[in-house]
Amino acid sequence: MHPSDLLRDLIQGRGSTHQLSSYIALIAGLRRSLDDWIPPDRLDSWTRIAARLGLTVIPDCLFCDLAGAPYTGVVPTTRATAEPWRSGASSGSRGMVHVFVSSSRERAEEALAAGWYSLVVHGRPITKPLVDHGRLGMAFGYPECCVKFFMSRNDWPRWNTLAESFKASRQTLWECNCLTKHTPCMMIYHMPCSFDCSATTAYSRSLFEVIRSVSEGYAERVRDSSIGTFLTVNEVVTYRLVSAQLSDVDASISYRRAFYLGSYHENDNLGRLLSRGDRILIQSGTVFVYRGRDLVGTSDARCDLGSMDVPLLLRFA
């Protein structure tokens, strides 16, 4: 297969430009499996295309939007209802089919077994045992150090995983930038244990070479998207700051534009404030947004409302 045909198949077959690097890693044997969300009416055709690529697709369940929530067309990791997926139910079904994909059926089933997403059933949230979070991470082929990190830190009311990764970092390498995971130019999907994690860096470098063999231009875009200055508050409130410059006078950062990188635009309140300014200063957990010398607004990050919100400026190089 011509390399550019691969990108075309991945995009047209799934109806999405997301997770391309993850699929390339899967086909190259750099990942064991992944999970994805496929429109019901594309599932059969995607399963056939995937088979041609040497991949097995196993449906898990049908995720539908909660009533009233606009569908954004990107990975719906939260706020969805789920229904059992019945084979042949594709016509007329709404929502997205959650699937596990791997180069072998056994590996896909292994991921499916550990891949239960917390769900409210008959009024009670059904979670899975902690050990299954680790099993799922390993089934996806993530580095073991990062899987252990995720198991101990993926608790939003108690930890800010990005801040924890940052604390463990001596430098912030673009190969370990997970903030672009919901964009077409993503590099890694997993949360690295640090932004200079050696296992993640090795994985990314190998993957980057494979992506280059598929498309030099796409590889450049992936790398360029991962380099630069990023503002994060938590995992769903993340921004790329274009033309960011550190001030000589204070610790503020000027920028030309801010791009929201999360998957849910309902979480993009800070983006509206950022669009009115051209400079930010973070102090005492508050993001101060200025236009020139005028303060146009502030955004208070909170640690008491269900997630540990910690504003951070990360500069990946």
Partner: protein
Amino acid sequence: MHSADAERTFPSPEKLVILYQKLLAFRLTYVANAFLTECAELAEATGFTANWFLLNRLPRGMLAEALRCPLLDQWVACAERLIQHRAHLLYPHAHPQRHLKEFSEVVLSLADVLPEGESGEANSLTIHRLKLLRGEMTLAPSRGLEDHTLRWMRRTGRLLIEWGGDDIAIPLSPPLHEATFTACVKSFQVLSNPRIGGAILDPDPAGHLGPLPSQRMRTALGNAFRSLHDELPPFYARLFDALCHWVTTFRSDGPWVAGLLQIADTSSGLASQRALEALSMDYYQRWLVCCPGFHPINRPEPKTLADRLCSALLSGNDSRFSSWGDVIDHVASSISTAEAPEGRSPRWDAVDTLVSISENDLRDLAAEAKGFQRAAAAYVLGEFHAAQQLLLRYLSTDHQSEESWFLLAFTLRHLGDIAGFEEIIFNEMRDLHNSAVVES
């Protein structure tokens, strides 16, 4: 339950207020000690330490007055959550740093009950509003947000404030009239308390101040309640009467029971039914705080509680609500029923603790332990057939163990038996003889 029984079971509004205020004093002391001992440097650098000792100089008898400040209640509640989640230790320079700085605003709002001659600073960068007189009056800068340290002092019966080059002198002796305020605040806009005033009383947006807030509030509350009452259908009207009874009666010795009543939504045009719901929810949440023994199984999260309370209040039969006690009784029984133990999420503590044990120790445990723990060890080791057999055996002796049923479901999932998993999780099948459980 008759209302007489209800009175024996539930504290009266007056007693509840005293309980609540004592509890708030205790909670304030607890969080202050936690900050002073666990993050002493941060407490010092943010001015919290100085402000805490300033607050400790409250004259005798003024503590109860101070505890009515809604800002204090808000501050303590947030501090508790920060401490509970160790945010002050993990991310001290984020929200915790700001929160400790904001304590200076709480102290400023209590400045009128501090002794003459006391002075202090509010060093928060995010002062958008100055809340004064225990939250009854708010000043907003008329020229937008700016970053200035604010200094204040109690002198000759006035509260003197220096902020951004402006000097404000606020006389503290009643009666205080709008003209007096307007004259002394010049470059500031005067707002009445936005939480109650904005939500229910719909004050003049220009912030004109009439008589003292306490007097004005009492009159306006009465008018607002009457106005709301007229809009309500008969059932809601009676319920509303019962809910408002304690608010209006307790108003006799103070402007309003600050800290006991908070309507967080400051948007205009709050519908009457929604105001009623908010009032009810808020009161009941506070009631639960004072009665921690009320629901020993699993105190609901505020949101859950609010939803449930709302549903209980709105689904009742109006003939049952002849008194406030009846209302509380109905809500209490509704919550008790809804929070039965079988309605809880699975608790994986016993399984999750095994994750940190070495594989050798886990194997020893799997060989030596009994019952659920042995099955849990097998599950963590990935020995799913063994886990299934152990769970089936354990369930034959303790059929009610929900944790075992849940672990069995996830075990079946790993054995490739998704149908068995779904039977237990979605259809709540709890039959050991069901083929979905035994055949995999």
